[in-house]
Structure formats: C-alpha cells, structure tokens
C-alpha cells in the first residue's frame, strides 16, 4: 500500500489495477489447474495401491486354497496307502477263520488281525495328531511347541529346544492354533531346506507386543528373499504364514544375526487386548 501511494495516481492506478487483477486471476486459475492435476495423480496412485493390495489378497487366497488341497491329498494318501491296506489285511486274517477251523490257526489269525488293527489305530492317531495336536487344545501353546521340539530332537536329526519366558496366561485357543501352525510351518521349512544342526525358539513379551524368535544355524532366508518368494508362484508355505499373520495383525522378519553365524526369524504379534476387531 505504501508503494502504491508513492506512485503518481493519475497514470499508474489503471496499470496497477489492471496488472494486479490479471495477476490474481492468473494465480487463481494456476492454483486450480495444479490442484486438479495433483488430485488426479493422488487418486491414480491410490487406485494403483488398491489394485496391488487386491492382487496380493488374491495370491494369498489362492495359496491358501492350494495348501488346503495339498493337505487333503496328503491325508487321503496316508489313509489310502497306509490305513487302507492294513485294514484290508486285518480283514483277510479274520476271513481266514471262516475257512480254517483249526483252533490254533484261528487264534493266530485273530492275534495277527489284532496287531494290525493296533497299528492302524496308531497310524490314524498320528494322522489325527498331525492335523490337530491334542496337547495344544488341552495344555496350550507352550506344551504343544515343547512336544513338537522334543519329537524333532528325539528323531536325532537336530537339536531342537524352546523356552517360553512370559507365557503365564494362555491366549485364545484359535490364536494359539494360528501361532502353532506358523511355528510348525517355519520349523518344517527349516527341517526341509536349511540343513541346520540346531533350532531354538524363545518367547517373550515387551510392552503391548508378543514376540517369538526362532534361531537356527543352517541356510536361511533374509527379508528380501521372503518378499521375493511371497510375490512369486512358489513359496506356498510362506504365503500361508503371511495369511495367518494377517489374521493376528502380526509381522514376521527374517534376518541373519549380527554375528553372521545364524539366522533369526522374529514373529511380532499384538497382545490380544490390542487386536482390532476384524
């Protein structure tokens, strides 16, 4: 305003008015054009993100379905290849009693049939336990994981141990099952691919988070490898882990330890009271 008052009002006012008004209108139009282009860019970007998320969901869903089908096929194969022939053999032994009336032979047939039926019961029990371990339901996550690691150690293939530091109260049974499946999948991967000689699991809590860490000294993967495998068509097990973690609003992180001697997998979950409703 001071600057305007200094100028000669007779000549300069129309110029100032003209250029001032044009300038303001040009600024306004420029601003509107900028905003409309920027908003289009933001919306396009959001749509791209949405599409990527949908594609990822689809991949996870497909992986989940494929894994389910594979599991069913495995169970069907176990029942057909193992349980089926055993029961058929038992039936043969029992049938023999109708033909061979000699008491000793009959007793022997019945005894053989009983042995086979016992073996079949054990086989079906094993299949059932691998589907849903009763220890998990009855005694909780810590006992089920201890059980699993003892079986691995017992097989002699590697030294497996676990330690739960802060697990006084059990989680909800459905959450325990999900966490158990994740641990099972990770351990299976380590057994199949890593050639490790030891595997150690620890559990603790920190603030509002629940941590599970698995260390092993074999060949492992890093976070970059995990993300690459997740995007590809292979790595069904890892995709399954991802889906399960999503349910619990959790995260997983693969890394090589600072000392470069072993690999570490960290699972981070929110404590149950912090979980947002689905």
């Amino acid at each position: 305003m001071l600057l305007l008052q200094v100028l000669n009002p007779d000549n300069s006012i129309p110029m100032v008015l003209f250029f001032g008004t044009i300038g303001m209108l040009a600024l306004t139009i420029g601003l509107i054009v900028f905003i409309s282009f920027h908003q289009r860019k933001v919306i396009r970007y959001q749509q791209q993100l949405q599409k990527m998320e949908q594609d990822q969901q689809k991949t996870l869903l497909n992986a989940s379905i494929r894994l389910q089908e594979e599991e069913r096929q495995r169970i069907a194969a176990d029942l057909h290849d193992d349980a089926g022939p055993l029961l058929a053999t038992a039936r043969l032994y029992l049938n023999e009693n109708f033909v061979n009336l000699d008491k000793n032979t009959q007793l022997q047939s019945i005894y053989n049939a009983k042995q086979i039926i016992d073996d079949t019961i054990q086989l079906i029990r094993n299949i059932s336990h691998s589907l849903m371990p009763p220890t998990l339901k009855n005694f909780g996550l810590e006992s089920a994981v201890n059980d699993l690691f003892q079986k691995i150690s017992g097989s002699g293939s590697m030294n497996a141990s676990c330690r739960f530091h802060e697990y006084r109260e059990r989680l909800k049974s459905e959450n325990e099952l999900i966490i158990f499946r994740i641990i099972q999948e990770l351990v299976n991967n380590i057994l199949k691919h890593s050639n490790a000689s030891f595997i150690h699991l620890t559990q603790n809590t920190s603030g509002n988070k629940f941590f599970i860490r698995i260390h092993h000294d074999g060949r492992g993967i890093t976070q970059i490898d995990f993300e690459k495998l997740n995007k590809s068509n292979v790595g069904l097990g890892l995709k399954n882990i991802q889906s399960r973690l999503k349910v619990l609003q959790g995260k997983i992180f693969f890394e090589k330890d600072m000392s470069q001697t072993y690999y570490k997998v960290t699972i981070e979950l929110l404590r149950e009271e912090e979980l947002r409703p689905a």
């Binding site: 305003m1 305007l4 008052q5 009002p9 006012i13 100032v16 008015l17 001032g20 008004t21 303001m24 209108l25 600024l27 306004t28 601003l31 509107i32 905003i35 409309s36 920027h38 908003q39 289009r40 933001v42 919306i43 959001q46």
Partner: protein
Amino acid sequence: MGRIIAFSYILPIVCFLVFCLKNTKKELWVIFFYIILSLGFDFFRFLLHLENETVYSIVNGIFTICEYTIFAYFFFTVINTPITKKILAIVSIIMFLLIVIIFISSNKRNFDSASASIESITIIVFSLIYLFRQINQPQEHFIFLSPNFWVVLGILIYMSGTLFLFIMASNLSDTELQKYWIIINISNAITNIIFCIAFLVNRFAAPNPSAEKPYKDYNNIPENP
C-alpha cells in the same frame, strides 16, 4: 452490459429452482440465498445510483458484512475437520467484528475500502484452506464432480478479481470508482455462471438419493419357471 449482468443473476436462480429444489445440501442453499441477496443489493444500488453518498456507502458496507457472513458460514459447513472448523469459527468471528468496527468507524462517504479488502483477503484464505484439505484428503471421485469445488472456485475468482479494486478504492474518486466497477460486474457474472455449474453438477453428477437402489435378496430368488 446491464442485461448481461441481469442474465448472469437469473441463470443460477433458475438452475437452482429447476434442478436443485429437492434433496440439496445446506451449503448450496446458502449460495442460493447469497445470489438472491446479491441481486437485491445490486438492484438497490442501481436505484440509488450516487444520489445519496452516505446511504450508498452504508448499503455497500452492509452488503460487505452480509457477504462475509454468508461465505464464512459456507466454508464452516463444507470443511469437515473439527480442528479446522474451530479455527475457522474463531477467525470468522474476529474478522466479522473487525469489519463491523471498521465500517462503523468509517466516514460513510466513500466506498469502505478497508473492510472490503479484509473481507476479500479472509475469504481467499478460507478458499485456500478448503483447497488444501482437498489435496490432503482427496475424495474418491474426480474433484470436478464436487459442487462445493465449483462454488469455492466461483468465490475465489470473484474475490481475487475484485481484491485490487477494493484495496485501491480509497485512492479513486467516485467517478473513477464507477468507471472501474465493471471489474466487479464481470467478476460477479463469471461467479454466477460458475455457481450455475455447481448447481448442475449437484443435480447430474452426484448420486441421486431419491433413486431406488435395486435390492437383491438372495433368499427369495424365484424358482425357474
């Protein structure tokens, strides 16, 4: 020129009455009320036409206060963030009091440049705040499909087109001011046309709430004939 200005007032009024009478948002009713008020004041000013300087000045001052109130209320309605709404309300009340005080303390012989300039600058700032929120929280649809955007655009063009005239009005004589009043008339005309676009966008681009949505009840799928 007068006919063009008159037509630019009638167009949005007719558009609103034909297309937007039912199921229109509150903010568009506010703008419709502003158009009617603006038409009334312009007609009154046309009748007065420099016969009585003091009354002319008072009419202009009152119009400035009413215009500011209406636009401030419009922005209060369209901006949804609670914190921004509160700040807007506080600033609006302060500006309103300032404009009233300046108007009351002015000599009421010339055009009240100070209050009109303050009004313009404040409304331009409110418009920028609205546009900034639009950048930060883009709607799902394209911004040109929002009637509020068109209203803000109209207000921004009107205020930015007339800002320099309002600032320099105290340096102009009455004759010169009347000569340059055409800037206000043109800005008004453009703004009214843009308001008209806002009303049309509200009717044709936004989803029609009165249309029945088809309801699919999968429990009552009719058997094959």
